[in-house]
């Protein structure tokens, strides 16, 4: 109590200096909070965008051999037949799901409107693998479509907007694919997708692979999408994929050029690390600003110690232990930092709230304008403030505790 009263006495005596110090701390704290929450928001958007293509999947594209094997020379192209794919399920327990994928440029026609876009031939499980979820009222391709080679089609949301008009009801309507009538059974929900290998899903269309076979009779699979049973089993799943393919198509199992495998799990881990790096970097910048504020606090505490030398001398003369003096000054600087920190965090939080209210349609802006403040960030900020408050108090306080009372009390 005594301490707090004294603090406010100081505050009124040193108004300007205190004001500047508290502002410096507030500014630093606001910086830390803002940078970290923008960083966190950026990260979440990045992860969301990254997962737009599908979570924990691998996409394998056939390539060429680089090693001679079993009588075959190097440089042989690998071609995958769909009939061989069930081997994956049978021989690699770590692979949970897979889908073959084909792609063709097609003419899509609705009424008088014609558009040339990619049509993908895929399995029903593809929707789940690649995070293509139907808008309400629609569905993805199912087993019956496959078995009956139905002429059904799922549209990307922007493709639907282009063909039928923005947001128009498309399910149940007919669309001409290379002049063959197809029924729209689903439209993909709008999603954030930042990586892709054959155009964004929002512009593509999807048909049953069996129907695709009938129309285009492709001899080989373009690529395979598969998902390991778990993240932990991902390396085993990948190994299994190479092993099965190597035995089937007779190449060296260690010849990794035979397939280019896009491993989103590994990429995700790397992206995660990069991301932690970015966040650390932002945090360090914020912490440095805060440090400047801390130096300000230390400075003002030194001034206060100097100005109160006489008071300190009196306290020591009547029997205050050094620790009592130290605690007094450390608490004072902690209080200064706490007030500044509270102001700064408050300000930053309202800014975070405000920014989140701004409606954003532009995709690039979406990354910077969705800051997230979590309790973990709060913890980081508060401990940072605590450390700075302690550090900026300890040194002036030690100086105070070593005041020589005789010296301090000699002069009026």
């Amino acid at each position: 109590m005594h301490l707090i009263i004294q603090f406010f006495r100081e505050l009124s005596k040193e108004k300007m200096r205190m004001f500047l110090t508290v502002s410096a701390i507030a500014w630093g704290a606001a910086n830390v909070v803002l940078l970290l929450s923008v960083g966190e928001g950026l990260g979440r958007q990045m992860r969301r965008g990254f997962h737009g293509m599908g979570e924990n999947i691998m996409i394998a594209f056939p390539g060429q051999t680089t090693k001679p094997y079993a009588g075959f020379g190097a440089g042989r192209s690998i071609r995958v037949r769909e009939d061989d794919l069930p081997l994956l399920e049978r021989r690699v327990p770590e692979i949970a799901q897979y889908s073959a994928e084909w792609i063709r440029d097609v003419d899509l026609k609705v009424g008088e409107k014609i558009q040339r876009e990619d049509a993908l031939g895929v399995y029903p499980v593809y929707g789940e693998l690649r995070n293509i979820l139907p808008e309400s009222g629609g569905r993805f391709i199912d087993k019956l479509d496959m078995d009956r080679r139905r002429r059904v089609i799922v549209l990307g949301n922007e493709l639907r907007d282009d063909l039928f008009g923005a947001g128009a009801e498309a399910v149940g309507r007919t669309i001409m694919v290379n002049n063959i009538p197809f029924t729209v059974v689903g439209v993909m929900q709008k999603k954030m997708q930042t990586s892709c290998y054959s155009g964004h899903d929002k512009d593509d269309s999807f048909i049953p692979s069996t129907t695709f076979q009938t129309m285009f009779s492709p001899e080989y699979v373009r690529n395979v999408v598969f998902r390991p049973r778990s993240v932990a089993e991902a390396p085993a799943a990948k190994e299994g994929f190479y092993r099965v393919m190597a035995s089937r198509y007779r190449f060296h199992p260690e010849d990794k050029e035979t397939f280019w495998v896009w491993d989103t799990i590994e990429m995700g881990a790397i992206a995660g690390k990069v991301f932690i790096g970015i966040e650390l970097f932002l945090g360090v910048i914020g912490a440095l600003t805060l440090l400047v504020g801390g130096i300000g606090v230390a400075n003002i505490m030194y001034v206060i110690v100097k100005e109160r030398t006489r008071e300190i001398g009196i306290k020591i003369a009547v029997g205050a232990r050094p620790s009592v003096i130290i605690v007094q000054f450390v608490l004072e600087s902690l209080l200064t930092v706490a007030i500044g920190g509270a102001l700064g965090i408050g300000l930053a939080l309202s800014l975070v709230k405000g920014i989140n209210l701004i409606p954003i349609s532009h995709e690039a802006m979406e990354f910077l304008t969705r800051p997230v403040f979590s309790s973990l960030l709060a913890l980081v900020c508060i401990s940072l403030l605590g450390v700075i408050g302690l550090l900026s108090g300890v040194f002036p306080a030690r100086r105070a505790s070593t005041v020589d009372p005789v010296e301090a009390l000699r002069y009026e």
């Binding site: 005594h2 004294q6 006495r9 006489r310 008071e311 001398g313 009196i314 306290k315 020591i316 003369a317 009547v318 029997g319 205050a320 232990r321 050094p322 620790s323 009592v324 020589d404 009372p405 005789v406 009390l409 009026e412």
Partner: protein
């Protein structure tokens, strides 16, 4: 029991050593009433600071109740200042922002006495020095004599055995000075050891023993009456 044996104190002014005390040996028993006289610069204050454990000697030994003071830790010295010794300064040295009551409470705060007990003890002491009605006044609202009485009440806070006063009446008019001296006499009668530095012969006349310092040396030590 205060025992000084060939105690000296040397200050350094840059490279020039200033001998403030030069081999002072003296014993002061519990309950004595002593005055210290001497011209300005003779080392009176220095002697009081050493006795009061505000400072440590450069040479010789100082025993307080048989305990050598030189080797003590900072915390032990703080405890001695807090409980064994009450110091009264010429210029009062009160906390300007605190009330008379809070000033008197201060040594008890450092003794970790509880709030209510502390307050009633402080009020009692203020009553003792005749300032019962000035408890919530700040030093700036009190006269010099009243301030010095607050300082004396503070010095008595933890019932110290020894009261040290360095020219306690130096800044006071003669009337206030006499009142302070009466209080010292009462304390002496109550069994406390009282040591007063003074320039004032009439004050010295009140005490039972007079120490004379000159140039850092104890030149005479004579009983009064």
């Amino acid at each position: 029991m205060i025992e000084l044996e060939k105690v000296s104190k040397v200050y350094r002014m840059g490279t020039v050593p200033v001998v403030a005390l030069d081999g002072v040996s003296v014993e002061i028993a519990a309950g004595e009433f002593v005055s210290v006289l001497g011209p300005s610069g003779s080392g009176k204050s220095t002697l009081m600071h050493l006795i009061g454990c505000l400072d440590t000697p450069s040479g010789g030994t100082y025993r307080l109740d048989g305990r050598r003071v030189e080797g003590l830790k900072r915390n032990d010295l703080a405890e001695i200042r807090n409980r064994k010794i009450g110091f009264v300064f010429q210029n009062f040295n009160l906390l300007g922002y605190a009330t008379a009551l809070e000033n008197v409470e201060l040594p008890m705060v450092y003794k970790k006495m509880r709030g209510r007990e502390r307050k009633s003890k402080a009020l009692e002491l203020l009553g003792l020095v005749g300032l019962g009605d000035r408890a919530v006044h700040r030093p700036s609202e009190l006269s010099g004599g009243q301030r010095q009485r607050v300082a004396l009440a503070r010095a008595l806070a933890n019932d110290p055995e020894i009261i040290l006063a360095d020219e306690p009446t130096g800044n006071l008019d003669s009337q206030s000075g006499r009142e302070i001296v009466q209080l010292f006499r009462k304390l002496h009668q109550a069994g406390k050891t009282v040591i007063v530095v003074t320039h004032d012969k009439t004050i010295a006349a009140e005490t039972r023993r007079v120490l004379n310092l000159f140039d850092g040396k104890l030149v005479s030590d004579s009983p009064n009456h």
